[in-house]
Assembly symmetry: C2
Amino acid sequence: MATPLSASAPADCRVLGLRERKKQRTRDALVDAAHSLFLSQGYGRTTVDEIAASVDVSQRTFFRYFANKEEVALAVMADAEEFFIDCLRARPAEENPLQAMRAAITEAWRTLGTARHTGPGSVTAALELFELIENTPTLLAAHLRHTTLQEAEVARVLAEREGLDPEVDLRPRLLAAVFGAVVRISHLSWSGDPKAHQAGPDGMIALIERHFDQLGPALAGSWR
Amino acid sequence: MATPLSASAPADCRVLGLRERKKQRTRDALVDAAHSLFLSQGYGRTTVDEIAASVDVSQRTFFRYFANKEEVALAVMADAEEFFIDCLRARPAEENPLQAMRAAITEAWRTLGTARHTGPGSVTAALELFELIENTPTLLAAHLRHTTLQEAEVARVLAEREGLDPEVDLRPRLLAAVFGAVVRISHLSWSGDPKAHQAGPDGMIALIERHFDQLGPALAGSWR
DNA sequence: TGCCGAATGTCAGTGGCTGACATAATCTTC
DNA sequence: GAAGATTATGTCAGCCACTGACATTCGGCA
């Protein structure tokens, strides 16, 4: 379902009607305009009117595309998360849950990394978003909430892979939540470490791997 | 520092001046009024004006006590979380990190459970809040954000206990985040299970323990 | 008692967000 | 290709969360 990152899909432009294409274009334009405004002036000092005006649509139209101001900022992230879930679903059944999750997230990052290297909707642009989100309380809150919703979906996928009922067995939801926590801490480390930014997606993958490797030791009885 | 739950501290009323006591009273009144309004009408259908009016205070005053509408709803939770951190700090140094965390949270729940059984600010009232938070997107988002801030503090405490630098060693932040995830899933299970509500704090403790016990199995290679 | 500072009230204004209705653009069907 | 059904958009009015500025009142204290 989800294409790598939100911006206009190159294919299937012909099959969709004019109406759908137009909608996609204004949506993308809104996301791009919002991003550049947010990154240059900051989230709080950017009004919805500004965003709408810079795409020549009314404020009312903006709110027909996005439920609120946060959503336009998190749209790219949301697509990336959905893409991760698609990757997870596609993992072979032989892999155990933890293996599948780790494989899915590195695969997701690598795919997104090769898809587009520049411009709005690129990985580097998406990475800039992390800083913005982390430094904007409202955005961080909205992002965390969205993440927990995705975790519920991840838990469902895991339960299905293993033929379990997620209402009864605690492990799917537990693993999904722990996985989410590890990824989040990795993102946090990433945005606190300028060196990691150069490496692009690979740097992020390496960071996530390091954190996963420390998961066992962190939960071990003694840290000595 | 933190007293068990927010409502008026019984002691030290005499030492504080009239001014401070009055402030504490209006603050508590605002929290109580907000809670009963939120629980009866819902969060979204309650205006700040209503809350302020039912305590005979101007809207402007409300916003001098609470930065926003969410804060008044989460005030009790925030105090409880801070109390947990105090419990964690007080754990003996011999305990390993995971032991200390588990001990601290059961201790926190037990203390809060025995402190007050009825009325606003009681544990049962606090438990009702979980449902409200979980069913109110805005509140859930704000709560999750606040939780991650607390996790940073937890990570600092853990690092200090073990004489580590939380900037270098990944384990403190990792364990704090995983712990937060486990507690959150427990809260979620709790609010989805009416049976658990009867047992009060003990029911919650039992749920958290069960989830912790499943943490190892969830992270194990195979689930078969 | 009288002064200082802190808490509160009032007021005006900004900005996010929504419902209702009218208009204009696309899609459909003949 | 025109009529009519859908759907996207604009406009307008309004609610509500939140803020700055200024005036007023109240508690602390000499």
